[in-house]
Symmetry: C2
Subunit: 284 residues, 2 copies
């Protein structure tokens, strides 16, 4: 049996960041420094780590970035006031509110205040709605990164059977809409699905975005299928995906590793969206 081709998110990401660097430079040559503002509420260690990686990627590419940190007990009104201030800041083209927010903040109410033109996370109702009706808008970074990886490896989506496990607003649902826009026949499974395997075993493309190590075992995967692992769970032995990589890679045709698969792409797509926002603001 052949072992799957490993989809190298790190390599694809490096290539993309090279291209973004050139685009950022072109903007800078035209007097526009692309700028990202991140907002963090509270001291969640995972959020801090993700933000560090995001700012590092911005810096590598030549995108200005700043981090706004609010105390754990900040109220909704104050978070919204911060967003509104940055909405008005002409030096900032992209705004990222790092999720999850501490309780009892409702992220939906707060996210809706981000100017859709600066919504580089693609998470405002306006940009999510554009994904539904197929008009131009910002696409959330992780699903955008998944599609880009598949495209880079020449994996055809047209008329393919795709199954997405996990229905989050930031990954599962936008990915479902993107796969549909590429003419895949898409099934979405989630925590209430009776028999997940029934929906995965014939899937040409299987994406798991749950955050549950070992969820996807070899018996759930189609021989010769494509398996994309969006799960990232911190374990004692390091970062773990949803997929039983060692066994699934003996059955699939393509597989993304964790780490080094979708993760680097998420960050690159955020930077790409920021550069795009700067280009839009300049009428490029």
């Amino acid at each position: 049996m052949m072992s799957a081709q490993i989809i190298d998110g790190k390599a694809v990401s490096a290539k993309i960041r090279g291209g973004l660097k050139a685009q950022a430079q072109e903007l800078i040559n035209n007097g526009i420094i692309p700028g990202l503002a991140t907002i963090r509420v509270g001291e969640d260690p995972a959020s801090k780590l993700y933000l560090k990686l995001k700012h590092k990627a911005c810096s590598e590419v030549g995108v200005y970035s700043e981090d706004h940190v609010l105390a754990e007990d900040t109220g909704e009104k104050e978070v919204i006031a911060q967003i509104k201030k940055i909405n008005q800041d002409a030096n900032i083209h992209g705004i990222l509110l790092q999720l999850p927010l501490p309780k009892p903040l409702d992220s939906r109410d707060i996210l809706a205040e981000i100017d859709p033109r600066k919504d580089v996370d693609g998470i405002t109702p306006t940009n999510l709605g554009r994904l539904v009706n197929g008009s131009k808008g910002f696409i959330p970074a992780t699903p955008k990164g998944v599609l880009r990886l598949l495209d880079e490896y020449g994996i055809e989506l047209e008329a393919k059977k795709a199954t997405v496990i996990g229905r989050s607003v930031i990954v599962g649902k936008p990915l479902y809409l993107l796969l549909l826009s590429r003419n895949a026949t898409v099934t979405m499974c989630h925590s209430r699905t009776r028999d997940v395997t029934e929906h995965t075993k014939d899937a040409d493309i299987l994406v798991s975005a749950v955050g549950s190590p070992g969820l996807v075992t070899a018996d759930m995967v189609k021989e010769g299928g494509v398996v994309v692992d969006v799960g990232t769970t911190k374990t004692e032995s390091g970062l773990a995906g949803d997929v039983d990589f060692e066994h699934v890679k003996e059955k699939a045709a393509y597989i993304t590793p964790v780490p080094g698969g979708v993760g680097p792409m998420t960050i690159s797509m955020l930077v790409e969206n920021t550069v795009l926002a700067a280009q839009n603001s300049a009428g490029f």
Copy 2:
């Protein structure tokens, strides 16, 4: 073999309209006449018929309605100017732009101009996005009507397998999101799906929203399943759904007829959304 229970959209609709009449009266007692404005561009006969039914339903319930008719060759700017004018009209709580628009008008650009608070068709990016992130907003009339019918007949959706055929922005995609929000495992099929039957034959709930008479035959349906027919095609022998009603009703447990199934519900839900918009405007 038992024959399916026929889901009576006309009867459910009549009941709903009775309730809406009372709600409209309560608004009127408080000095607010709920108002709907429809906009039609051009002379499409089907659009004219649908609008006639919508205005008739408003009148029955005690909702004020007015019809704005623009010439076939009206430009995008003029249609948007009309929308903006009605956005400002305090007497109008709901705006419905009748689709399809004549070419070359792009409905997406134009619909995006409707004030989301008056978007009783649930078709602006903002309201579609709210369907994705699960926040409160207007739900498009037809998918809302489908869910209401299923609820009225006590049909459980939790953990059920649902398949939707047809991925329109106004029916298929919102319905997919609604079924998902009710914890169904949902598959969406469309014109590029290789083998539709594979996805329908085990579906507990099957919804067809294509507009292709005879598309859904008995062999495609699960024994004891629920079949909802959203298709409406004008034929020589009258209005036809997508489903081969005579044969499928011998196999399914529940089935909606055409006419008299989803159709009346669509109109009732539009009126309901208008009453809701008037209530929102009054802070009810």
